[in-house]
Symmetry: C2
């Protein structure tokens, strides 16, 4: 009989945190659709918490922009509109540009290797045509890059904006051409990062995001039809 599972430090997080994270995941993954009403009674039952922590979660997600609070009428999942996506990607573009610059300067070789590993995992997914896996590793790479900039504030800001984008990702498909192009861009970004070419990485990342923007917004428009 197992005496102790590998649980790490005994984890007892506040319920409102747990609720916030669970809800955020549900929204980001699109399992709570944009525009959907968030019924307190339903969600309390579903999450097994009372209304208080749940409502605290609503407030947090509202400041993150994932939820909209309608006074006296509850909360809804923020609708996704192309304009807001455009805005968000523009902001993320400059954030990632800065992140790349800082990462070029500050990241250790070990950290770069971690990113490289993720990159190869991503290539594997691309080769297999595994889009979900591709997105996952793609996300991970971008997040790590920002993290390894060493600027925690930047990382936080980036993460928050990222929630908005991820939702769209789950909705929008990706053309094969754009996919191939994105992979090529990643290859180049990684090379430049390894070379610690501060000036060039900024341009590359900004461009990469601009292309992503065009792609996502294009796909979204296509879905509107």
């Amino acid at each position: 009989m197992e005496l102790a599972q590998e649980t790490g430090p005994i984890l007892r997080r506040p319920l409102h945190e747990e609720a916030t994270d669970r809800l955020r995941d549900l929204i980001v993954q699109g399992r709570l659709a944009p525009g959907a009403r968030l019924n307190e009674r339903l969600l309390t039952a579903q999450l097994g918490v009372s209304r208080t922590p749940l409502r605290e979660a609503f407030k947090v997600l509202a400041t993150e922009g994932l939820v909209e609070l309608l006074p006296n009428r509850g909360a809804i999942v923020s609708p996704i509109d192309a304009e807001r996506l455009r805005e968000t990607l523009a902001v993320m573009g400059v954030l990632e540009g800065l992140a790349g610059e800082l990462a070029c300067r500050n990241a250790t070789e070990a950290q770069l290797n971690e990113i490289r590993a993720l990159h190869y995992e991503m290539l594997a997914c691309h080769a297999r045509g595994d889009l979900a896996g591709y997105f996952k590793f793609n996300q991970a790479i971008h997040l790590k890059l920002v993290k390894y900039s060493g600027n925690a504030t930047l990382y936080n800001a980036y993460r928050q904006l990222n929630g908005t984008i991820r939702r769209a990702r789950y909705m929008a498909n990706l053309s094969q051409e754009r996919w191939d192009e994105a992979v090529r861009e990643h290859e180049e970004i990684l090379a430049v990062l390894g070379a610690r070419d501060v000036k060039r990485i900024k341009v590359l990342l900004t461009d990469h995001l601009t292309h992503k923007l065009a792609s996502v917004v294009g796909e979204l428009k296509a879905e509107d039809r």
Copy 2:
């Protein structure tokens, strides 16, 4: 007898919003010192609300980074440390760079004139040596600039980060030389904005923020002694 005061639309905001704003102001103005413990009982009495909306406000301010939640031990005002300021200003630098670029393209002449008006108000304060007034108009100018970029997401992100900085502003003094220099920089920014020189404005704003960074961090260090 007056039948109707000019109240505009009847304003009935949720208590938690009101509480959030009031608390945020208290923190930003430094009336709740960094590191200070936020006692729920005290604050409920002071704000005249019950614990529920107050605690919701805590959560919101925590995601904004102005408050830290210590599980089972309540909340404190986030301490100000130079490193975090550095980080924040770096991020705001690129955000404002983007904002300037967009404002150059999108702002109407009327909007630019609004900024110009604020600029002259600011000059007046500078001439009088009115530092508090100067900060106020300075803030207003930067916020308007970002707002007139036309990117609401950018504006939100900027505003949030700005809270952290404003707190430091109330603490750190300003050398006369740096003050004069800042005013000159503003003059130039305004001129370039009027000329709609997209490339140049970005450089100017980024530099301006870099200088601000150096100034604020320098002053903060000076206070540590």
